[in-house]
Symmetry: C2
Subunit: 252 residues, 2 copies
């Protein structure tokens, strides 16, 4: 049974304000919750239908579980099609020393707005072995439920770090190559790309902010192959994916 207070508490976690206050977020569905329970993440509580509970006895021994009906799941889920299980999870502390970014290929996101885009970028980063995503403070919150669901569980493996990007670059103790996706960059398919460095991706409509451009050492662009007229730009998560794929292809 679900109390009214539980319902209110869980739904409140849809909002950034309450996630920050409680240091908690929500993840849903058998795939993501299953992965979470096998991960170092600290799952506070799980709400699931009987069918899921029966199947997952082995991974839920140490977790507080509440059996709920499909109807109750609907009242706490933020999915169109609620899917068996919902977990309330502690937001981990991610104090990352900037030095640990030294030998890595790092994504830097400058005000990515759309939760679907951020989630997809984290999922793609995971696929291509990128372990750190540095986000501007105005980037949509990585623990927003839409972001979490779009990552398909990749938030478990990819660390997101929120910071003032201007200060971040100014205070870096090393000088990595910094690639920036710009409409007037150099054709990325004609460049020799390193295995380490930073890649800045700009906001969906405004691109990379003026005051960050000074840190770019290698402006890059993805050439359009249309003959006459074409799209003016690519979706931010698509551009990120094509750039990451090209970095990794060259190392392969």
């Amino acid at each position: 049974m679900l109390s009214k207070n539980s319902i209110k508490h869980i739904n409140s976690l849809n909002l950034n304000k309450f996630r920050n206050r409680n240091k908690l977020f929500v993840a849903e569905g058998p795939k993501i919750v299953g992965e979470l329970l096998r991960s170092p993440f600290d799952v506070e509580s799980v709400y699931a239908v009987g069918k899921w509970i029966k199947k997952n006895k082995s991974i839920t021994e140490k977790t507080e579980i509440t059996e709920i009906s499909e109807q109750e799941l609907k009242r706490i889920s933020s999915l169109k099609a609620p899917n068996q299980v919902l977990a309330v999870v502690n937001i981990p502390d991610t104090k990352t020393d900037n030095d640990s970014l030294k030998n890595e290929l790092v994504l830097v996101l400058d005000d990515i707005n759309d939760p679907g885009n951020l989630g997809t970028i984290i999922r793609t980063a995971d696929w291509f072995g990128v372990r750190y995503v540095v986000c501007s403070n105005n980037t949509v919150d990585a623990y927003n439920p839409k972001v979490i669901q779009a990552t398909m569980g990749s938030f478990i493996r990819v660390k997101t770090i929120y910071t003032d990007l201007n200060k971040f670059f100014t205070n870096l103790s090393f000088t990595p190559p910094v690639f920036g996706a710009l409409l007037k960059g150099k054709n990325i398919f004609k460049m020799e790309l390193p295995s380490e460095g930073f890649i800045i991706i700009g906001n969906e409509s405004k691109g990379i902010s003026g005051n960050l451009k000074q840190f770019i050492t290698h402006p890059v662009m993805i050439p359009s192959f249309a003959q006459i007229e074409s799209a003016e730009s690519l979706n931010a998560s698509v551009a990120t994916s094509i750039i990451l794929a090209e970095f990794r292809r060259q190392q392969f």
Copy 2:
């Protein structure tokens, strides 16, 4: 002024049933509506705030325009942030002779479900000069408002053709190379790719259906570069984009 009937009519076009019945769809925002009015599409009517109307006298001479308030725009818009203008547009007849696909790089979508994915795929196709996207009958409708908005106007240049894919491949009068994105395909970065051919992309969770696999002549996959564990798959529009980029990169 907007009549109650107009509001009802426009909102009804959010549903496939009414789009099909009326052969009409809705597009929103200055960028997309501006492009539409300069395109061969037959725009039936435009609803816009005064500011937009003043600015766009030159492209709206032949179109029926209704001036509305921001409040009225909210009542007919399906956007979170309605943006100045909404157009009701005739769905064009797209009878495409299969022979016109012969010397083209063609995308084939097998039950893409998510409107955002389809819109993003059409936008990326446009960027890479792909002119035809053949969709299974169960693929989300290309005139769904969420698809239209995610294309950022690229639906104007990229033709979508809905058909029974099994029959489509069986009846093709020529034999193109058919690439299929499969988890167990050949590393696409190690293949020599042609400038023409078909690329099949499967459903977001089920992949390419069993009965379509027989038509694939070249199974391909995008290698993961993660060291230990990683994402199990890529988002459908991301996978499509990386594959298209690789086809075009090799031609460049």
